[in-house]
C-alpha cells in the first residue's frame, strides 16, 4: 500500500497547477484521502518504532550483504532480491496492511502482562518476607524432634575396615580431622565464651543482636579428639564415632534434663559390643549449648558432640549398632524416619 501510495503521489504537480484542473475538487479530495491514509500509516508505524528500526537494520544488513554478492554474480543477486522482497512483505504486507508490527504488538502486550505478573509475584514475595522473621523460623514443628547424624560419614553408614590395612580406614580419619577443625581448642577459645555448664545459656535482648556461643573444645572428646591418638582408634580396631544432634532454633531439652546418648547392638547378640566409652563422660549434650538462636545471629555456634569410643567390639563380623537419644520429650522411634532421635550403623572391623 505504501508503495502504491507513493507512486500515486509521484506525479504530483505543483499546487498552483492543480488549480487549473477541471476536476480539481476530486483530485483534491483524493489527495487529502491519500494524506490521511499516509498519516494513519505513519501513526501505526509509530506505535512500534523499535520494530521498524530493527527491520530497517535488518534490511540494511541484508542490503549490504547483497551488494557484496552483487559483485560476485547476477544470479545470486536476483535470488537475494526475491528473498528480500519476501522478508519485506512479511514485515509489512502492503495488501492486508498487516505486518510484523502486529506480531510486535502482541509481544508488547505479553511483555506488559508478564511484567505485571512479575510485579505481582515480587509484591507477594516482598509481603512474604515482611511477615517472616529472619532470625526465627515461623514454624519449627516439622524439624522437631531433632534428627541425629554421625561422623565420620562418607555416603554410607557401614563402617567396614581392616585394622591392618590403613587404606581402608584412612579416609575416616581424614574426615574426622576435617570435621573437628572447627572444634580446635584455640579457635574455640578465641571465638566463643566459656559458659557455665548445666544450665541453659539464655541470651535475652533483641532478636537482631549477635549472640555469643559456648565453647565446645575438641579436647572435650578426650581419646576421640584425635589429639592423643591421631587415628581416632581406627588403627587399633577401637573406632571413634562422633554423634551430632541436628540443630533446631529454640530447641531446649525438656525440664532441664540434658539429652543423653546410648548405644547398643540393634539386632543380634547384645554382647557383640562389650564396652563403649562416651566423651564427654556424661554421654550427654550439655544444657549450656541450648537454645540455638539461628544462623544469622548465632554465628559461631558450635554443635555439641558426643563421641562413642567402641573399645571392645566383636571383630570380623558386621555388628549393627543403634545409638539413641534419651531424654524427656525426645522421640526416637519414628518408623519412617530412621534418623530422628537415633542413628543406626554397622561396624565391621576386620583384623
Amino acid at each position: 500500500m505504501r508503495r502504491q501510495l507513493r507512486s500515486r503521489r509521484a506525479p504530483a504537480l505543483p499546487y498552483g497547477y492543480r488549480y487549473r484542473l477541471d476536476d480539481q475538487d476530486e483530485v483534491n479530495q483524493n489527495y487529502l484521502a491519500d494524506e490521511e491514509e499516509e498519516a494513519e500509516e505513519e501513526a501505526r508505524v509509530m506505535v512500534v518504532p523499535d520494530l521498524e528500526e530493527e527491520e530497517e537494520e535488518e534490511e540494511e544488513k541484508e542490503e549490504e550483504e547483497k551488494e557484496e554478492e552483487d559483485s560476485h554474480s547476477q544470479e545470486t543477486d536476483s535470488a537475494w532480491w526475491r528473498k528480500l522482497q519476501i522478508v519485506n512483505e512479511y514485515l509489512w504486507d502492503p495488501e492486508k496492511r498487516t505486518s510484523l508490527a502486529r506480531t510486535g504488538l502482541i509481544l508488547v502486550i505479553y511483555f506488559f502482562f508478564y511484567a505485571s505478573l512479575a510485579a505481582v509475584i515480587t509484591l507477594c514475595m516482598y509481603t512474604l518476607f515482611l511477615t517472616i522473621s529472619p532470625y526465627m523460623p515461623t514454624f519449627t514443628e516439622r524439624v522437631k524432634p531433632p534428627g541425629v547424624m554421625i561422623r565420620p560419614f562418607a555416603h554410607s553408614l557401614n563402617f567396614n575396615f581392616n585394622v591392618s590395612e590403613p587404606d581402608t580406614w584412612q579416609h575416616y580419619v581424614i574426615s574426622l580431622n576435617g570435621f573437628l577443625q572447627g572444634y580446635n581448642d584455640s579457635l574455640q577459645e578465641e571465638m566463643n565464651v566459656d559458659c557455665p555448664p548445666g544450665q541453659y545459656f539464655i541470651q535475652d535482648g533483641d532478636e537482631d543482636e549477635d549472640k555469643k556461643a559456648c565453647q565446645f573444645k575438641r579436647s572435650f572428646l578426650k581419646n576421640c579428639s584425635g589429639l592423643e591418638d591421631p587415628t581416632f582408634g581406627y588403627s587399633t580396631g577401637q573406632p571413634c564415632i562422633l554423634l551430632k544432634m541436628n540443630r533446631i532454633v529454640g530447641f531446649r531439652p525438656e525440664r532441664g534434663d540434658p539429652v543423653k546418648v546410648s548405644c547398643k547392638v540393634q539386632r543380634g547378640d547384645e554382647n557383640d559390643i562389650r564396652s563403649i566409652n562416651y566423651y564427654p563422660e556424661s554421654a550427654s549434650f550439655d544444657l549450656r549449648y541450648y537454645p540455638y538462636y539461628g544462623k544469622l545471629t548465632h554465628v559461631n555456634y558450635t554443635s555439641p558432640l558426643v563421641a562413642m569410643h567402641f573399645t571392645d567390639v566383636v571383630k570380623n563380623q558386621a555388628v549393627p549398632v543403634q545409638c539413641q537419644l534419651k531424654g524427656k520429650g525426645i522421640i526416637n522411634d519414628v518408623i519412617n524416619d530412621r534418623f530422628v532421635g537415633r542413628v543406626i550403623f554397622t561396624l565391621n572391623i576386620e583384623t
Binding site: R102, L105, I106, Y110, F113, Y114, L117, V120, I121, C124, M125, L128, F129, I132, Y135, M136, P137, T138, F139, T140, R142, V143, G147, V148, M149, F153, H155, S156, K244, N246, R247, I248, V249, Y292, G294, K295, L296, H298, Y301, V334, N336, D337, R338, F339, V340
Partner: protein
Amino acid sequence: MNRKREIYSVELSGTKDIEKTDKEDGKKSRGLKNKCLERKKNHQKEELKKELDLHDHKLSKEELETKYSTNIITGLSSAQAAELLAQHGPNSLTPPKETSEIIKFLKQMVGGFSILLWIGAILCWIAYGIQYSNDHASSLDNVYLGSVLALVVILTGVFAYYQEAKSTNIMSSFRKMIPQQALVIRDSEKKTIPADQLVVGDIVEIKGGDRVPADVRILSTQGCKVDNSSVTGESEPQARSCEFTHESPLETKNIAFFSTTCLEVSAPPVGTATGMVINTGDRTIIGQIASLASGVKDLKTPIAIEIEHFVHIVAGVAVSIGVIFFIIAVSMKYYVLDSIIFLIGIIVANVPEGLLATVTVTLSLTAKRMAKKNCLVKNLEAVETLGSTSIICSDKTGTLTQNRMTVAHLWFDHQIFVADTSENQSNQVFDQSSATWASLSRIITLCNRAEFRPGQESVPIMKKIVVGDASETALLKFSEVMLGNVMDIRKRNRKVAEIPFNSTNKFQLSIHETEDPDDKRFLVVMKGAPERVLEKCSTIMVNGQEQPLDRSTAEAFHTAYMELGGIGERVLGFCHLYLPTDEFPETYSFDVDAVNFPTSNFCFVGLLSMIDPPRSTVPDAVTKCRSAGIKVIMVTGDHPITAKAIAKSVGIISANSETVEDIAKRLNLPVEQVNKQDAKAAVVTGMELKDMSPEQLDELLANHSEIVFARTSPQQKLIIVEGCQRQDAVVAVTGDGVNDSPALKKADIGIAMGIAGSDAAKNAADMVLLDDNFASIVTGVEEGRLIFDNLKKTIAYTLTKNIAELCPFLIYIIAGLPLPIGTITILFIDLGTDIIPSIALAYEKAESDIMNRKPRHKKKDRLVNAPLALYSYLHIGLMQALGAFVTYFTVYAQQGFLPSAILHLRVEWENDNVNDLEDSYGQEWTRFQRKYLEWTGYTAFFVSIMIQQIADLIIRKTRRNSIFQQGLFRNKVIWVGIASQIIIALILSYGLGTIQALNFTMLRPQYWFVAVPHAVLIWVYDEVRKFFIRLFPGSWWDKNMYY
C-alpha cells in the same frame, strides 16, 4: 406411551455402534483407510446410480418358469429347493461384520490420551527397573505411579467402552423384519416353512396382513394392496396385480418387495396372492438398501473431529515440551533416569486425564435433557452435531405436516371458504347458513364409506381411529365435527346402493332414502374428481336454489378448481340428484352393475379441497431455523405443487421469494431467459435432479436459499445429502422409511421419526424424534449449540490448570527447587477436584440468544482455537502457577527454607544420605523431615490450584458477558461443583493426610487462603478482558482474547 417405552428400550439395551469403531479404525491407519473409503465410496455411488438390475417383471409366466426352472402349479421339488438353498444361502439378511468386543475394548484403551499415559506408565516401570538393578532398596514410588497411570487409562477406557456399548446395531431390525413363516407350494403341496428357507423359484401364497417373505413376482391376485412405504417412501397403499406396468422394477405393479406388508387381498374365490420368489436374502431390494446403509461409512461427527483436534493440540504440546525438557535435562547433566522421570511428570501434568470422560458425561447429560424434549439421542456425539447443523433436509409428510388429510377449503355459492386445519379443527368459522351448505354437508356425510372403529366414544374426534382411506377419513372427521353424529345421520338416511370409487370412474356414488319421512324420493349423492363430476351435472346449486349450469358458472368452477389445485390441495367435487318417485318408487331395486338409474344431469353442489396440513408449530420452527442461519430443504416424494404449497405455508419458501418459474410467469418470459440468480427459491423434481451433474447440483444448492425437492426417489435423497456435504455443510436429514436409512447414515446427523419411523430408519439414525415434530429439531439445535459453547468453557477450564501443573516440573528441572507438586497429586486434581466443576459448566445457560447466530463453520470455528489455548495456557494458567508458587514459597519459607535457600538444592534435598541438611536458619533436617515438608508443599500447591480453579470456574461461566450479567447464582450446579472441590481437598488433606503413598499432609489452615488474592486477581483480570471485548467488538482485542 407404549411406543415411547419401546424406543427407550432400544436406547438402553442397544449394543453397538458401528460408527465409533470405524472412527477408531480411521485414527489408526488414516492413509490406508482413506484410500479404502474412497474406493468404497465410488463403489457405493456406482451402486446408487445403477438402476436395479431386475427384469423379471417384464417376463411372462412361462418365461419365468423356464428361467427359474419351476412350475407355477406344482412349485419346486424339495430336492431342487434344497439345492438352491445350498447354493444361495438362506433367505435372510447377513448381519454386518462385527468387530469383536475385545478389540473394541482394546481400541478404547489406546485412543485419545491413553497412548501418552501408557508411555508414562511404562517409563515409570522402566525407571523402577533401572533403579532396582542399581539399588535393591529403592523406593516403590515409580511402581505406584506407573500403576496409577495404568489404572487411570483402564478406568477411562472402561468408561468409554461402556458408553459405546450403549448404542444400537443397525442390522438388528432388519433381522427382526423377516417373517417367521411362509406358505409355499413345493412338490405340488402347500407347505408352511420358515421364511428363511425360501429359495428363488418358490411359489408362495400371501394373505392380507402378511409380510412379503421375499421379493415376489405376483402371478395371480385380485385387489391386492401393499404398504411400500418402507421401500419407496410412498405412504399410500399400492395396488399389486399381475400386469407389467412400468419399466422400473420399483414402480411396476407385479412385484412385491421383501418385508413390505400386504395390506389386503380381496375376498375369495382368490383370497390370496400367489407369487414367485425372484430374489432372496441380501439380493432383495431391501437387502440391497440395508447393505447400502451399513456400507455407508460414517463420517466422524463434528464433535469427534473437534475432540481429536484438541487431543492433537494437547498431545503435541505435551510431547514437544516433554522432549524439549528431556533434552535440556540431559544436557544439564541430569541422569537419564531422572530425565525420564521428568518426562513422565511433564506428560502427566499436560494431559487432562479426566477431560474426555467429562466430555462424555456432559454430552450424555445433554442427551438426557434432549430426551425430555422428545429428541432421543442414540449416539452421544450427535448431541453437538445438531448444533452445528447448517442444512436440514426434511421430509414433508409427518414431519412438517400432520400426516393426515384434512379439509382445507370449500367452494360453494361461488365462494371459497377456509376451513380450520389446525390439529383439533375446533374453530370452523365459515358461513354455514347457506342452504347449499346443508346439501353439501349431506353429500359429504352420506357419500362416504369410512367409519369410526367402534368403542371410541370417549376419544376426541380427531384422535378416533377410522376404517377407510385418507380422504374419506378426512371427510368423515370433518362432517363429524360440523354436524355431530355422522353414523346416526347415515342410519336415518339408509343407503340402498353404492358404487365404490375406482380409478376408471373416478367417482363414488351412493343412493339413499331421505330422512324426511314425507319425502319418498331417493337421493343419489356423488363425489369424485371435479371435472368428472361436473360432466355429470346440468345444474348448479347457488344459495340453495338450483340454477342451470351455464358458461359463466362453469368458468367460476374452473377458477376455483385451479386455485385450489394450484395450492397443492386435493379437490373433490360433490353433486346430488333426487330421483323422481314415479320412476323410482320406494320398492325400486337398484342394480349397481347394470346401472339402472341415471348418472347424469346431477345438480352440482360444491367443491371441497383437502390437504395434509402443516403442523401448527412448524412455521415458527422454520423461522427459528432461518434466524439461526440454518437452511431448511424439503425433500419429498410428493407432487411439486403440493410440496411447494406446503413449503410456502411453513415458510421453507418465504412469502416474498419466487422460483425461476414464478418470475417467468410474472414477467411473461420463457423460463430459460430468467436470470437464475434472481430466484431465491427453487422447486426441483426428481426427474430434473436425475439429469443434473454434481456440479449443477452444487450450483443449485449454493445459489438458492430456499429449495424444495419433489418427486424424489429414495436414492436421490442420498445424492442431495452428498451435494450438501460438498458445500461443507453439516447436514441433518429426517426420514422414516427403510429407504431413508442410507441417507440417514450418510447425513452428519440422521433424525428418524419415532412414531412413523421404521425400525431400520431408527437404527440408522443418530437421533429419534419421539413426537415426529419438526419443532423438536429446533430444540435439539439449541441444545447442541449450547453444549458446544459449554464444552468450550469446560475445556478452557480444564486446560488452564495444566500450566499450573506443568510449571513446577519445568522450574524443578531448571532451577532445582524441591519438587513443588507430585505426579500423583496432579492426578488428584485432574481426576478429583476438577471433575464435578467441569461437568457443572454443562449446566450453564447461554450467554445470548444462540439461535440468532449462524451455525459454526465446520473448519473455522474450532472447539479449541488459538485464543482459547493461549488465554488458558499463557494468561490464566500462568497466573494460577504464580499463585500456587507463592503458596509453595510461603510454606517453605515459614518452615525455614527461604526461596534463596532452595534454589539448586534439588540434589542434596533428594539425597537419602544427607540427614542434616541446613536450612536458612541453620537448622538441620533429616531426609524424612524434608520429604514431609515436600509433601506439605504438594498439598499447599494442590490447595492453591484448587482455590484458583474456583475462580477459574466462575470466570468460565461466560465468555463475553460479565459474570454479573450472567448471574452468579443462576447455575446452582456450579456451586455444587465448588463445594465438591473444597470438600474433596479437605478430605485429601485432613482425612487422608496420614496415608503416605498419597503424598498429602495436614495443611495449616492459613495456607488455604494464600492463593485467595490470586483467585480474586484472576477474576478481576477476566472481567477486564470481557469488558474490553464488549467495549470494542471486532477489535484486535476481541479477535485475540475471545475464545
